[in-house]
């Protein structure tokens, strides 16, 4: 007690006020001392050429196998068997030669001879066999493998043979997004669902993952010391993860990161004006091969009713959506779903905003509002209240859709969940309506031309798998049964006609991807699948001289 008294007496003395001010200054001065304005990476390593990528794709866990976004970034360190070229063709990456039998039941992959893991071992067919089997058996997103792949065997050190259960013309295409896992590391990991590794992750790409520091929000890639391919002209790559896209935009503008990359997304349109004013940036603008669409739970009434879907398609104000959601960087889509940037595009009927027509169709199809409460009733007499499932990034678009539907007498409630939860709820059909963007990858999986999203025989992977129509199955099988260009063109047209007449999903807009990048690097190569995040790009770019 005495001590407390004396301390409090001393602390209260007036003369000590000066000391407090002094201490305050001593603390503040080192803090306020202006630090390096440009990112710390450059300041610390003046002689190192580091590419810093800014993203707002949140990596949740240091698991390159199962975390949705970590697996995207791991493409650099753990390249898949195949890759997409800048002009959209799928060619070999780890695999240098691919042969298939004429009935497409047997596939041979010959892998590159001079690939090495970052811990020294060479990449062999064992690793490929292991990876394919591991994914087939453990990954929740590769359901198709279980249905398709019968056995995986090795004929020599660099050759893997896949024997299939059914003919599959597009097996090589499917292999473009599954990263190669080192057998000697992953064979001992029994429960990948409970595995994280924030330190070095062994990889065989030109760069490997040195560290995944989620506290700091950075993934560090260092050069693979055993890489025998062409020498990259940069020394390291850092992926900086931002929680807020505005902060990311400012960081880009200030030079804390050099380029923006979000998987299958454009730079936020509302922040383009500011970055365009910054003379040190150039831009890549491309019409995406994917699109934003309204998905419907086709197994449930009233979404199963074609007339209902038709009515919905007239209720949506497409022009306004483009004005508000993409600030003009988009086009009103056609009922055929697929944008002109896709191979074998066919012009189908454009979508039209006509709310009166929507109401007419609803009235005529038995969705009247009999109790005049402003909400129409379904065929079972209950009020039409639909659940709209979205990810937070589509919150505002959801508001617009809600408003459009409300003005034609359909009530919707919105449920907003994060990406992986949305994937799972979609998989389990726990929604009436949902807003989805198709990724360029999603457009080419399965039979291609977005069939991967709808064919109900293909489950998992966050697709809708909601079309049960045998006619549609036949169309998919036709596409799957051939690699002949003419036949494919014919079938692709048929698929688009199907979308046109059946409207299994209502496209909302075709969007333009804009990617800003700093001119201090040159030689940028993008591909439709992964934008700037592809190995060809990282082997090609170099610091701009001067």
């Amino acid at each position: 007690m005495q001590f407390l008294n004396q301390v409090s007496q001393i602390l209260g003395k007036k003369s000590f006020k000066k000391i407090y001010i002094l201490i305050g200054l001593l603390i503040l001065i080192p803090i306020l001392k202006p630090g390096p304005r440009v990112g710390y990476g450059i300041a610390k390593n003046q002689n190192k050429r580091i590419l810093r990528i800014g993203t707002s794709d949140r990596v949740r866990s240091a698991n390159i196998f199962l975390d949705s976004y970590m697996s995207v970034f791991a493409q650099l360190s753990n390249p898949p068997l195949m890759k997409m070229t800048p002009d959209g063709r799928i060619v070999g990456q780890i695999a240098k030669d691919i042969h298939s039998s004429s009935d497409y039941m047997r596939w041979e992959f010959h892998i590159q001879g001079d690939l090495y893991w970052s811990d020294g071992g060479s990449v062999t067919a064992e690793d490929v066999k292991f990876t394919i089997e591991y994914i087939r058996d453990r990954s929740p997103v590769a359901g198709w493998m279980k249905d398709t792949i019968d056995t995986v065997s090795i004929s020599d050190e660099k050759t893997v043979i896949l024997q299939l259960k059914r003919p599959y013309t597009r097996l090589d295409v499917e292999m473009a997004t599954h990263g190669l896992l080192p057998k000697h590391i992953w064979q001992s990991i029994d429960t990948p669902m409970q595995y994280i590794n924030p330190g070095e992750n062994v990889g065989c790409g030109p760069f490997f993952i040195q560290k995944i520091d989620l506290n700091r929000g950075v993934i560090l890639f260092a050069q693979n010391p055993f890489w025998k391919g062409p020498n990259p002209k940069i020394d390291a790559i850092e992926v900086h993860i931002y929680q807020n896209i505005d902060v990311l935009s400012l960081a880009l503008d200030k030079g804390e990161v050099d380029v923006f990359y979000n998987y299958a997304s454009s730079y936020p349109y509302q922040n383009l004006k500011k970055i365009r004013a910054n003379s040190r940036f150039d831009f890549i603008e491309k019409l995406s091969t994917g699109l934003i669409f309204l998905g419907l739970n086709l197994g449930k009434a009233p979404m199963s009713d074609l007339r209902f879907r038709e009515a919905l398609s007239f209720a949506i104000n497409y022009r306004e959506i483009i004005k508000l959601d993409s600030l003009g960087y988009g086009k009103i889509p056609n009922r055929g779903l697929l944008p002109p940037s896709i191979e074998h595009y066919k012009d189908t009927t454009p979508l039209e905003y006509n709310p009166e027509k929507a109401k007419q169709i609803l009235d005529d199809s038995g969705y009247g509002d009999h109790n005049s409460d402003g909400i129409r009733e379904a065929h079972d007499g209950k009020n039409l209240t639909l659940t709209l499932l979205v990810r937070p990034v589509h919150a505002r678009l959801a508001e617009l859709i809600q408003d459009y539907l409300r003005s034609v007498g359909i009530k919707t409630t919105t449920k907003s969940v994060d990406t992986s939860t949305w994937i799972n709820l979609k998989d389990r059909y726990r929604y009436d309506l949902t807003i989805a963007r198709t990724t360029p990858w999603g457009m080419i999986v399965h039979a291609g031309w977005a069939t991967g999203y709808f064919d109900s025989r293909r489950t998992g992977e966050g697709v809708l798998h909601n079309i049960d129509d045998p006619k549609f199955f036949k169309l998919c099988d036709d596409l799957l049964s051939t690699r002949n260009k003419e036949k494919l063109r014919y079938s692709a047209f048929q698929v688009q006609d199907y979308y046109n007449s059946q409207l299994p999903a209502i496209p909302l807009y075709w969007n333009v991807f804009v990617t800003p990048f700093h001119t201090k690097f040159q030689g940028w190569l993008t591909n439709p699948l992964y934008g700037i995040f592809n190995i060809d790009n990282f082997l090609n770019i170099e610091p701009t001289p001067n």
Binding site: D246, Q270, N271, K273, E399
Partner: protein, 283 residues
Amino acid sequence: MRKPALPRQNGSAQKKSLTSLLAVVLFLVFFILALCANIIAPHDPWERFDPYLPPSAEHWLGTNDLGHDILSELIYGSRVSLLVGLGAAVLATAIGLSVGLFSGYYKGVTDEILMGITDVFLMIPRIPLIILLAAFLKPSFWIIALVIGFLWWTSTARVVRSKSLQVSEMNFVLSSKCLGFSDMHIIFTDIFPNIIQIVIPKFMLTVAAAMITEASLSFLGLGDPSMKSWGMMINFAFTKGGLVNALWWWFIPPGLCITFFVYSVVLLGYSHEEKEQAALGIG
């Protein structure tokens, strides 16, 4: 009221009344905004114009990312703050009063049990619980007001209890008991009127706390999407380019509104308390 008369103090009563005047005026402004929003607001806050417009004659505070007129949103936002604030505070005070009254009057076992319950509620982490519930349930401002009301009654209960303990020892209550009045009658006719003075500032502070909580939840995106809320406005400004594009007219006005509204309520509470303290000869 059978409260014994106490001597009143003059003096700095004038200074205090100026602050209370300010508080009342400020509160009335927001109250009127909330009540007459549809008359005062220049546009329907849900009507969509061109997005991201800077302030102009047509839109004094510009438009947001969906083209809503920000000034109109601002005016309508007072409704949610007022409704949730008042609703939650009424519920919280009702619960707190009941608990405190019964606890202080009956004493003994009732007191122990009720105070035990109060302790439990005091220690429940409130915002995490609301977030946990929000994950399971759909957001609507009724639920928010209800949950806030159910969690914020504890400090009122404590204060009412101690005063109630005090008052129930007073002679006039004892004489009522002797005269044979029922307990409930005594509680509501004798004790309750003497508690009110204590409760009013607590009520105001609860309104303030509820308003801040609602705004904070809306900022996280847990608010009711069918109503315009100041917190939600700031949420969209934060996530849709408000900061990096320096659109200060979007996120600063709603924040200021929350602050001013809460300020007026808190001042009302404090000035009442100060009046009471002056009356009782303290301060």
